[in-house]
Symmetry: C2
Subunit: 333 residues, 2 copies
DNA sequence: ATGAAAGCGCTAACAC
DNA sequence: GTGTTAGCGCTTTCAT
């Protein structure tokens, strides 16, 4: 329970000055071998451990080896895989990840952002749920790089790693249209999210190109969790006429849809395509628009690292591709 | 890109002393309303932000509001859900989570532990992959509480939150035995992990109670990833005589087994039960031994918080229950 | 090869 | 209500 020994105590015990102890332990050189050994054993005896925050305060004053990640919720595999890819890449460069979940609450995101900046994180990766990011412009001038992931910054110029949401959703709709479907339901997440809007747009583009003007009749939004999604899909199936196919715009909604469809009834024949790969998508035979969340994390890390390395070039925007993985839920019957 | 303004600069700009500026901004009171406003606007103008590490250095000297989590890999839903539950609970008490993945590499775990302790985390939650933890005894004396999750500490007395691995695995075996199975395959993770060993033991207990002495014939271990698990299950199915049922001892292995069984052949008739719930377990109809990783995270947080609160009582060990969720992969045929 | 003094950004303690 | 001084644990600078 006692407080930790400081360098001064190690120095006292080994009979040298604080600076010599510092030199000995940080391997800075210019210390006699014998002195170094004495300091080392004093440190071991006391259980000394460097105070990295004190070192950082003295050194740069202003930065640590911490990188912050703000995202919705780690329990969502999309975010946790993103975090995993990010962390792996950062670690290779001596940086450590500090995570904070916003639960898609803009107010919390603001507070958590402040808190991470106060901790002097070296940079920030954020899957933002805020409508607007102008307030961060001042921060950028003080040298904290931001990398936006999944959703682009608004009113702010910053690096971003995004998905080809529009193209992926368009491909999904086209795939269903090619299979002969005309009444296609679409169930989406929170309508305020840009990812949602882009996916709906891509879907709309394909539908309208196919001459289907009333696709909105089968659009249901704001299904943010699995239960809501399940209910939304059930509601869609209960329509008359019912859609013959459903496009779900993210992994949780697809999960809800699978639960709804499993309940049999007319549902069994309904075709399904989902945005995001699923853990057991292949076993279940779910057709999806797949992409790689880990890769998004790695890209974000690389952008951040290049900024930390002094890259002052214009903001970059990486758009990662999606691909159609055709499985049995859209097989011809 | 410039460095951040310090309190001294804010003080200078508003024409007060550093301490007054400190008081004004930290809301400590005893500041004239007018002064406070002047300081505040100077801070805004400069884009001032508190340096929390400096504050912490001055305050307690030795601790921050950070809690470290060491676990295998966030991409594994077990760990990410654990992290999610932990973070939520910590956040309610003003603490923030800093995560580090060990990839089940003991050496890295050691380095990452050091690194987190140097950062003066307030406490450490660890799903350890090390064989032994005696080296941490000295740390405990310096007041950094450790909470072990999923796997117990060895040669160290510390709080732990564990699963009823033995009971869950025994229940799994019993369930298969009740269904009339006698040749039951069991595929496990890294054999050095205590969770693995406990699960095998529970399984063995049920098998031997049923008079099946040669169950080891169908034991395959060290299937640490999905691919290895898939191959292990295929190998099991190719035996003559083949097992009529398989018990997979964690979520990744179950995933691999599902892939193997899907490939048809004799596999289609093989019964399956897995340890850990799966995201789409209900849709797939996989019988599992389920438990709640988020709950494990919350428990760990509560244990840690009570230690931070001054609880000096003996080490506690929480064992969370598992439950059998019966679905179609073990349905009678 | 070693040490003394100063200071990173902040706050506790004690003035005034 | 406000300022001064000292110091958290460490490293930089400059001596010796």
């Amino acid at each position: 329970m006692g407080s930790r020994p400081s360098l001064a105590q190690v120095a006292a015990l080994s009979g040298v000055s604080v600076k010599t102890a510092s030199r000995a332990l940080s391997g800075e050189g210019y210390v006699a071998v014998e002195t170094k050994a004495r300091v080392q054993s004093a440190a071991d005896e006391l259980g000394y451990r460097l105070n990295r925050t004190a070192r950082e305060l003295r050194r740069g004053g202003n930065t640590s080896t911490l990188v912050g990640l703000l995202s919705g919720d780690l329990a969502n595999p999309f975010y946790s895989r993103l975090a995993s890819g990010l962390e792996r890449e950062l670690r290779m460069h001596g940086l450590q990840l500090i995570t904070a979940s916003t639960d898609e609450n803009p107010e919390w995101e603001g507070r958590l952002t402040d808190s991470l900046l106060e901790r002097r994180v070296r940079g920030l990766v954020v899957a933002s749920t805020m409508a607007e990011h102008g307030h961060l412009a001042a921060e950028r001038r003080h040298g904290s790089p931001f990398v936006f992931v999944d959703r682009p910054p608004v009113n702010l110029t910053a690096d971003a790693v995004l998905l080809d949401n529009r193209g992926g959703a368009k491909r999904a709709a086209e795939h269903l249209l090619e299979r002969g479907h005309r009444r296609i339901g679409i169930v989406g997440d929170l309508s305020r999210l840009s990812t949602h809007q882009d996916r709906v747009e891509g879907f709309a583009e394909a539908m309208e190109a196919a001459g289907i003007a009333d696709w909105r009749e089968y659009l249901l939004e704001d299904a943010h969790d699995v239960d809501k999604a399940e209910r939304a899909v059930l509601a869609l199936l209960a329509r008359d006429p019912a859609p013959t196919a459903v496009f779900t715009t993210n992994n949780r909604i697809t999960t809800g849809a699978l639960r709804a469809l499993r309940q049999g009834g007319g549902g069994r024949d309904t075709a399904l395509i989902g945005f995001d790969e699923l853990d057991l998508g292949d076993v279940l035979g779910v057709t999806v628009i797949a992409h790689d969340p880990e890769e998004m994390g790695r890209h974000a890390a690389r952008l951040l690292l290049s900024r930390l390395d002094g890259d002052e070039g214009p903001a970059r925007r990486v758009v990662l591709p999606t691909r159609l993985v055709e499985r049995s839920t859209t097989a011809p019957r």
